[in-house]
Structure formats: structure tokens, C-alpha cells
């Protein structure tokens, strides 16, 4: 590939405009097909039996009665998904999570599944499966699980990353550490130190569409899977590996997606549906209920974080330290590690140290949730930063500006930054009218910063030019936030044609090379790079064809504004050829015209945001109301500004829910008590104010248009911004998320008692 990804500073025609998205009309009219909207003749209904116990050994499973029930076509257990992972520990965990093998590790863990002719028969069949459990002690709290005395979830796990190899197994699977300098010395130079402990409860992404798929396993050993996913190529790899298939024999087609936010990056039901279809010899549709989504998909970590930050009187931070404990569910993960990397990424620090501990608990396996692990770390750090500014007597924005990372700063997690947006977002916030707006009684204002790495990854794109001059763009990154519109704009920009001439689709796994998932805010970043590259390859062919049509040297043909132009005096009599004119003749000049691109999109620019939030707290009930909210974030270049704003608002909305009300509530029995939207409280429309946005564009030097990922950073600052606002409104520092009314009222009452 000879493609130059460097930022070129060009002027844009299509990029930066706001046309209607190609998938919009079908979505608002209900025609768009989501995971559960696929159907096949002869299709069966798949249902999963789940453990009601938080931790139990599976002594015996008897499926004979279920198998005998009329209308039941297949019953499977772990025996039907044999271990083919060949020493791949991470894949073994995925397998065990799809279908418990020897132990049920959480309330909701799949233990068996059936395929039957209808839902009623399938439900009845589940009741006929007899399972003998031996109950084991369980632990669901992250701090409790980290104790030496806690019930062990996996006695083969010894903490990694310690100086000496431990002799006893532990629920702490790994210790990781980041930083530089000497924090001990740094704290010695501090005039003020803030030291606090924080907790955040487990939350779910709350995507409206439950997991859904249709699996069709043919008797020739090939299979099709239609599924709602953020990454159909990854699902293909995982399913093929777990079912012992060659990847090319499994064709996965992604449906429209009703939200993912990281939660649809992991297989749960799909290998089960394939195994059921293989056994039954018929297509099987498997759709999770909301209860199953909460109990048995992948929420984010619950955390417990200690932070210590010291600063001199002049506001210079001298040292910063954090210890972060993140729950992983019952399988090893790297969630605390990511938290430890992001915690202090916004600041220029001489002495910084973060330590992460991954903790196993009897809860569902943690999955990614939008900038995974960063919001909790930011909550703890930005709360302490606010408190420290107050102690010093500095404005919280000025304090952050003084300590903000810059180009050339060595980040707390290692790399040295290029051009970055933390300073500009802070300056924009400082001069934003929101910061000067008056506050009413019982109202408080808070602000906070956030960082996210962003990701690039493997990407493959095809651009085909039809004989009528219209362009089909086939991408392999699932469209979760309007990327088909953005990528069509990019193709139009590069080719010099109108947006309406481009139609983008998400191709299936048999039609395109491998693509990483739409995660890490990579969809538009990486696929736009591949689209630019594919378009440039197509332009090369278009120039060759024009040269052929004119019978001149290709070097004399340039591409400008959608046309081939013959350059040089001797071609002065030649008019220009449009893309369409060249396409019409393509059958006679060498056949179809297409551009392809296969690349690893390196250089995803890091992203920063600063949020401002006003909250009103009812001091008598602890009720909160978000009065005003403003997001300022660096987009590099906003390809389709409406969808960039949508990402900013969406992240803030999810953050508001997380900060104020959302939490997994477990009973003493280790069972989830609120597996539904009634008692797992995501915000409804009327809970939210209009969320204002301000897009900053600090070009990413590693992308031709300067694009940075924008999807995730927007959920990093809200927990902290809201906590700072609530703390200012209520007059008491809130250290436990969510700040539900009972927690706020208890804190206010305790403060009243204390000040008596």
C-alpha cells in the first residue's frame, strides 16, 4: 500500500456538511432490519436456561424430559460446545461464559439451551431441564472480593504483576502500574494534599435493542449468522473458533444496531444459537429478554478508587497517585489497567503513579462500555482536583489550565503527546457563557475533564463505481452512529462528486476482508482513512481510463472536482471527462472501475473533552435535576457535525444516568434485584436538559482530514462534572456513584449532624 495518511490541510466541499443519513428514513419508518427482524422458513425459537445462583458447582444436568417434550428440536449443554480453544485462555473464558462448564459463576450464567417450534414450548422445555447444583459461597462486592478471606472464584488464579509470585490463589488476577518520577518526593513538595476514596457501582450500557441473532447451520458444515453486533468479523472469528469451523465457512451479516456502546463486542448467544441450529438441523432465532440482557450480557466494572494529589500554593501539582480496583466479573480482564492508564492523562505531571487491581466477582463478565474504565477514574481524579483547587483557593478551570498536558508532555501512561485538545477545551470552557450564567437557590455548577486514547485498527473497504457513474461504498465497520453518512461524505469529497451519488453499506464477512470491530471510536476514523485510500486508488484507475479514452499519457491526466483533466499545452483542445463519462465507457476501456483498500489505521489521535454542568438539589429529599449541560470536545475534524454532536450528547446523557441513578443492585443472595428498566434507571427524555455542544477541531496529524474518534470521550467527564456540581449544590463532597436521592439525602443529613 502506498498511501500517505498525513494531514494535508485541504479545503473541504462535502466534509463538514450535514446531509440526511442514508439509513435514516428506514429507521424512522420502522423498515430498517434489526437483529430480531430476520426470519427464515422453518426457523426455531431458541431459549437459554440460566443459573439462579451466584456461585454453584453443576453436579448434574438431566435434559431427558425436555428432549421428550413435543416440539422440542434440540437441547444443548456445555457438552455440545466442547473445548476447542487449544490453550487460548481468553477464548476459554468466552466459551465458559457462553455456557457454564463446571460451575455457574453468576446469577444469569447460561447452563443449557433449547430450540423448539415456538416460544411457549421452549419455555416449557426449560422448566423440564433438571439441574443439581452444589451451592458455593459467593462475593459480589469489589472490595470484599479483593480481601484474603473472600470466597475464591477460581482457585487456579494467582495474582500477576507482583514482584514475587504469590503462593495462594486470589480473586485479584493482576496488578498493573503506570507513571514516572517519584511521588513520595513530589508529595514532600506539596503545600496542600487531597486524599480521598471513591466508589462507583456497576452500570450497563443500556442499549435499547437486546442481543438477537438467527443462526442457520447447513448440513454441509457451513453456516450463516445474522446478528446485531459491533463487529461481525470478530463474531465470525470467535464463533468459528468455538464451533470448530474455518472462518470462511461462516458468513456473518450484521443487522442494523439499536445501540452497542461496547456491549455488543462480545459473543454470548451467538455460539449457542449456532450449536442449537447444528443440532436441530434448522435455523434458530435467539433473542435475549431485557432481564437476560441485564443479568447475562456485559456491564461495566464496579470500582473502588483511592486518589491522592498534592500541589504547591501557586497551583502546580507536585505529585498524583491513585490505586484503582475494578471488578471484572468472574473472568480475568484488564479493566483496572485501562483505568490506571487514563486516570491522570489530562495533566502534565512530574511525579505520578497509578496502580490497578483486577478483581473477580460473582457478577456477569465485564465488557467494554464507551471509553471503558475511564469515566470512573476521571470521577475520582477530577473530584479530587476540584477539591484541591478549592483548598488552594483557585478557580477550578484555572487550576486545570495551569496543569494541563500539552504537545510534548509525557503522558502519565507513557507516550509523549502530539498536538492535543485539553488546553483548548479548557480555554473554551473558561470563556463559555455557561460559566458566567447565574445560579439559583440550591443549584451548583461543576466541571471536569476527560481523556480517551481512541483506536485505529485493521480496516478494509471497497469502492465500486457503477456504469452509470454512481458509487457503492462497502465498509466492514458496523454503523453505530451515522458512519455510513460520514463515509459517503468522505468518498464524495475525495472523488469530487455529490454526496447523493454515493451509497454506503456495511458488507458481510464473506464480501470484504477482515475488519476490527466498531470500538475504540474507530468507525469513522479508520474507515474514512480506508475510504480515502480506496477512492484514491479508484481515481488512479479513472485517470488511466481517461488517458486511454484520450489516447494520451496517464501522467498528463489530473483529477479535479470529479473530472479528469488533460494537463499541458498540447492537450489544450481536450475537454474534461466527468466520472460518469469515464464510467459509461468502462466496459470498453478495461472493465469495472473500483478502488480497494486494506490498511491498519495507525495514529488514532487522543481525544479530550471538558464538560460543564448545573444541578439543582432538593435539600429535603436529595432529588436532583440537571439544569444545564455543556460539552466541549476536540473532534480533530467533524466529518458530519450533526453526528459528532449526537455522540457528544449521547455520552453526556449516558453519563448523567450513570452519575445519578443507574446501578446494579445485588441482594445478599448474590442475585441481581433490578434486571429491568423500571428499577435500573436510565434517564428518560424529561430527565435531561438540552445538551449544548461545542466542537473544537485540532487536526490529528495522522489522518488526511485530521479526523479523531469522537464516540467515547464524551462519557468520561460527566460522572465527575456532575459530582462536582452536586457537591457544590449540596455543600457536601459526594464520593459514591450513583448519587441517588437516598445517598445525597444521607450525605446532607450527616453533614447537618456534623455541623451541629
Amino acid at each position: 500500500m502506498n498511501f500517505d495518511p498525513r494531514f494535508s490541510g485541504r479545503k473541504f466541499t462535502s466534509v463538514g456538511t450535514r446531509p440526511i443519513r442514508p439509513d435514516g428514513i428506514d429507521k424512522v419508518t420502522g423498515r430498517a432490519r434489526y437483529g430480531a427482524d430476520f426470519n427464515m422458513a422453518g426457523q426455531l425459537v431458541g431459549r437459554v436456561l440460566r443459573s439462579p445462583h451466584a456461585h454453584a458447582r453443576i453436579v448434574k444436568i438431566d435434559t431427558s424430559k425436555a428432549e421428550k417434550l413435543a416440539g422440542v428440536k434440540a437441547v444443548i449443554t456445555a457438552a455440545d460446545l466442547p473445548d476447542l480453544t487449544d490453550g487460548d485462555a481468553a477464548m476459554y473464558d468466552v466459551l465458559d461464559n457462553c455456557m457454564a462448564r463446571t460451575k455457574a459463576l453468576y446469577d444469569g450464567h447460561a447452563v443449557a439451551a433449547v430450540a423448539a417450534i415456538d416460544a411457549r414450548t421452549a419455555r416449557q422445555a426449560l422448566k423440564l431441564i433438571e439441574i443439581e447444583y452444589e451451592l458455593l459461597p459467593h462475593v459480589t462486592d469489589v472490595d470484599e472480593a479483593a480481601k484474603h478471606t473472600a470466597p475464591l472464584i477460581n482457585d487456579a488464579i494467582f495474582t500477576e504483576g507482583l514482584e514475587e509470585k504469590p503462593v495462594k490463589p486470589s480473586n485479584v488476577t493482576k496488578r498493573s502500574q503506570f507513571g514516572h518520577g517519584d511521588v513520595h518526593q513530589g508529595f514532600g513538595q506539596a503545600d496542600f494534599i487531597v486524599e480521598r476514596s471513591f466508589k462507583t457501582e456497576q452500570t450497563h450500557q443500556g442499549y435499547i435493542e437486546p442481543h438477537a441473532c438467527v443462526a442457520n447451520f447447513s448440513s454441509d458444515g457451513t453456516a450463516d449468522l445474522w446478528v446485531c453486533t459491533q463487529g461481525h468479523f470478530v463474531y465470525r472469528q470467535h464463533c468459528a473458533q468455538l464451533l470448530g469451523m474455518e472462518a470462511s465457512k461462516l458468513r456473518v451479516t450484521s443487522s442494523e444496531i439499536g445501540g452497542g456502546f461496547g456491549g455488543k463486542t462480545h459473543v454470548w448467544a451467538e455460539p449457542v444459537a449456532l450449536a442449537l441450529s447444528r443440532k436441530a438441523g434448522r435455523p434458530v432465532k435467539l433473542v435475549m429478554t431485557r432481564d437476560e440482557v441485564f443479568r447475562a450480557s456485559g456491564p461495566t466494572s464496579a470500582t473502588s478508587i483511592d486518589v491522592k494529589i498534592g500541589a504547591r500554593k501557586d497551583g502546580t501539582i507536585t505529585a498524583a497517585e491513585a490505586t484503582l480496583r475494578y471488578s471484572c466479573g468472574p473472568y480475568a480482564g484488564s479493566w483496572a489497567e485501562i483505568g490506571a492508564m487514563t486516570a491522570f492523562a489530562c495533566y502534565k505531571l512530574d511525579n505520578v503513579k497509578t496502580v490497578g487491581y483486577e478483581v473477580l466477582v460473582n457478577r456477569p463478565k465485564t465488557a467494554a462500555y464507551r471509553a471503558p474504565s475511564a469515566p470512573m477514574a476521571a470521577f475520582a481524579v477530577e473530584s479530587a482536583v476540584d477539591e484541591l483547587a478549592k483548598k488552594i483557593g483557585m478557580d477550578p478551570v484555572d487550576f486545570r489550565i495551569k496543569n494541563a498536558a500539552q504537545e510534548g508532555t509525557r503522558s502519565s501512561y507513557g507516550p509523549v503527546y502530539g498536538p492535543i485538545g485539553i488546553g483548548p477545551t479548557l480555554e473554551a470552557v473558561k470563556s463559555h457563557p455557561h460559566m458566567k450564567a447565574p445560579l439559583g437557590k440550591n443549584q451548583g455548577r461543576g466541571m471536569a475533564c476527560g481523556f480517551w486514547f481512541n483506536f485505529g485498527g485493521q480496516t478494509c473497504t471497497d469502492l465500486n463505481i457503477g456504469m452509470d457513474g454512481s458509487v457503492s461504498l462497502a465498509v466492514g465497520t458496523v454503523d453505530v452512529g451515522g458512519s455510513r453518512a460520514s463515509l459517503s461524505l468522505v468518498a464524495a469529497e475525495e472523488l469530487g462528486i455529490d454526496y447523493s451519488q454515493v451509497k454506503a453499506i456495511v458488507a458481510d464477512t464473506s464480501s470484504l476482508g477482515y475488519n476490527d470491530m466498531t470500538d475504540g471510536s474507530r468507525g469513522t476514523f479508520s474507515s474514512s482513512m480506508a475510504t480515502i485510500s480506496a477512492a484514491r486508488n479508484a481515481i488512479k484507475i479513472l485517470r488511466e481510463r481517461a488517458a486511454q479514452m484520450w489516447d494520451i499519457a496517464v501522467d498528463d491526466v489530473v483529477w479535479e472536482k470529479g473530472h479528469a483533466i488533460a494537463r499541458g499545452e498540447k492537450h489544450g483542445n481536450l475537454g474534461k471527462l466527468s466520472l460518469k463519462e469515464i464510467a459509461v465507457e468502462s466496459g470498453k476501456t478495461g472493465g469495472p472501475i473500483a478502488g480497494h483498500s486494506e490498511l491498519v489505521a495507525d495514529g488514532a489521535g487522543v481525544s479530550f473533552a471538558t464538560h460543564i454542568c448545573d444541578i439543582e438539589v432538593d435539600p429535603d429529599t436529595g432529588a436532583t435535576r440537571v439544569i444545564r449541560y455543556t460539552v466541549v470536545q476536540d473532534a480533530g475534524k467533524a466529518v458530519h457535525p450533526t453526528y459528532v454532536e449526537g455522540q457528544y450528547q449521547g455520552g453526556a446523557a449516558q453519563g448523567i444516568g450513570w452519575a445519578l441513578n443507574e446501578e446494579y443492585i445485588y441482594g445478599k443472595d448474590g442475585r441481581l434485584q433490578n434486571a429491568g428498566f423500571l428499577d435500573y434507571r436510565i434517564p428518560v427524555c424529561s430527565d435531561l436538559p438540552m445538551i449544548d455542544t461545542q466542537i473544537l477541531e485540532i487536526p490529528n496529524p495522522n489522518h488526511p482530514y485530521g479526523v479523531r474518534g469522537v464516540g467515547e470521550t464524551s462519557i468520561v467527564p460527566p460522572l465527575a462534572a456532575i459530582a462536582n456540581a452536586v457537591s457544590n449544590a449540596a455543600g457536601v463532597r459526594m464520593t459514591h456513584i450513583p448519587m441517588s436521592p437516598p445517598r445525597i439525602l444521607a450525605a446532607i443529613e450527616a453533614e447537618r449532624e456534623w455541623s451541629k
Binding site: 419455555r123 441513578n661 424529561s686 437516598p742 444521607a746
Partner: protein, 286 residues
Amino acid sequence: MRYIRPLSIEDAVGQLAGSAGTAAILAGGSDLLVRMKGGFGEPELIVDIKAIDGLSEIRETAEGFSIGAAVPCAVLGENTDLKKAWPGVVEAAKLIGSKQVQGRCTIVGNLCNASPAADSVPALVAAGAKAVVVGPAGRRTIPVQSVPTAPGKTSLAKGEIIEAILLDKREPRSGDAYLRFIPRTEMDIAVVSAGVNLTLDEHGVVKSARVALGAVAATVLLVEEAAEVLIGSRLDEATLERLAKVCAGACRPIDDKRGTIEFRRKVAGVLAQRAATSAYARAGGK
């Protein structure tokens, strides 16, 4: 499962009384269908009462209002006279679920579902509403608070249907109000709630009062001691302070996923104060 849609209340009663297995009454279905879909059991007989003559009407009589068992809560909000006479009852009914749910759900359903957190029940209890019960033995009229006996349980005998809810004609200078605490702004279930109904004398002094609390005990509480605090007062600060204390003391709440005992006690008092203040203003008190 058998579904029937009788045209007379007698037929409905007969079908219910004669059913051998589990039976359920369907009006709006906003509790029943959710339970069935959630896999919490399927009744063998469903009696849909929406086609029964008169059950979908609100009638204004010399004694007051009669609200048929199949009247959706949204319709209560469209009845100007009812809203004027019993604003607290109507605002409670209009808080249930969402706009869509209110187009289906009924206050009789809300009462018979027997949830301690039901929104319309504290308002009805405070209003002194009565339920007209029709059964194999005929018709009887009982106070609404005697219908729910425990979470999910009612005092209704086999074959009995509540035909209508009766609300008295208003005395002058009367007002009622209902408030609930939810962490969201809508689409939620009460963590604590309070309904207050007041009548004032010519001088703005509370002449009679009823105070009901929801979600703080196994059934809605009618707190007579709280009413006594209000009677004879003009809702001065000391009275409201005492009202809060009495209400907090009357609660028998539990710790659960929706709130703590301390939270419910404290907020029950706060809501009672606020509902009383609102009812007082509606009654013309200053």
C-alpha cells in the same frame, strides 16, 4: 387460556364465580399483560370488562362522581368537573406509567393490583373514596382502603368485581393533592408518596383532613394522627413540622432497591408537608 368479553356485569361475575382455575380481570391490562409477558403465570380465564355497559363512563350524580372500572386514567384528566372537584385524585391517576399507559390503565386496576406503591390509591384513600363491589351475593359499597390487604392481595372474594369508584360531592373550600417521590421525572414507581385532602372553614382553618401515605408499609396507610395535627390549624410552620414528624413516625418502611428506611421516613414527612400545602392552597387557604 380462555378469553371472554361479557356484556353485563352479572355475566362477568357468573363467569368468574364459576371458573375452576385461576382467573383474572382485564381492563387496561397494564399490570396483567406485563405479568403474563414476564412469565409470572398465565391465568386460565381472562374476563375483559371493557364491553360491559356503563363501566367506561364517569357519571356525575347528586352524591358526587361514579368512575366506572374500565375508565382509563387519561379520561379522568379530560373530565373538567372531576378535575376541579378532586384535583389530587386526578393528578395521581395521571402519574401512572407513561402517557401511553395512562390511555389504558384504570384506577380500579391500580387499586386491585394491591401494590403498596400504587399512585392513585393514597389519593383515593385521602379522598375517602368508596368502591362498589358486585359479586355473587349482590352489591356492596366499601371504603377503598379496605380493598388491598397485603402486597398483591385484596379482600375481594371469588367472583367479585369492583364496578366503580365513588367520590363525594365537594363541600366548599375543599382541596386535595397527591405527591410522590421518584428518582426520575416520569415512567417510574413511587419510592414514597402522600395524599392529603382538606376542607377549611370560612376563616381558612382546617375543618376536616385526611392524610394517606404510600410505599411506606405493606398497604397504603391512612394516618389519622396526621389529620388531627392539621385540623384546627392554618398550616403554620409548627403544624407542618409536627405533620412531618407524625408521618415519619407512622411509616413502617423497608430497605429495598428503591430506597432506605431512613430515606422513606424523612421523605414521607416532606411530601406530606408539600401535599398539605398544595391542598390547602387549592381549598382557598392563604
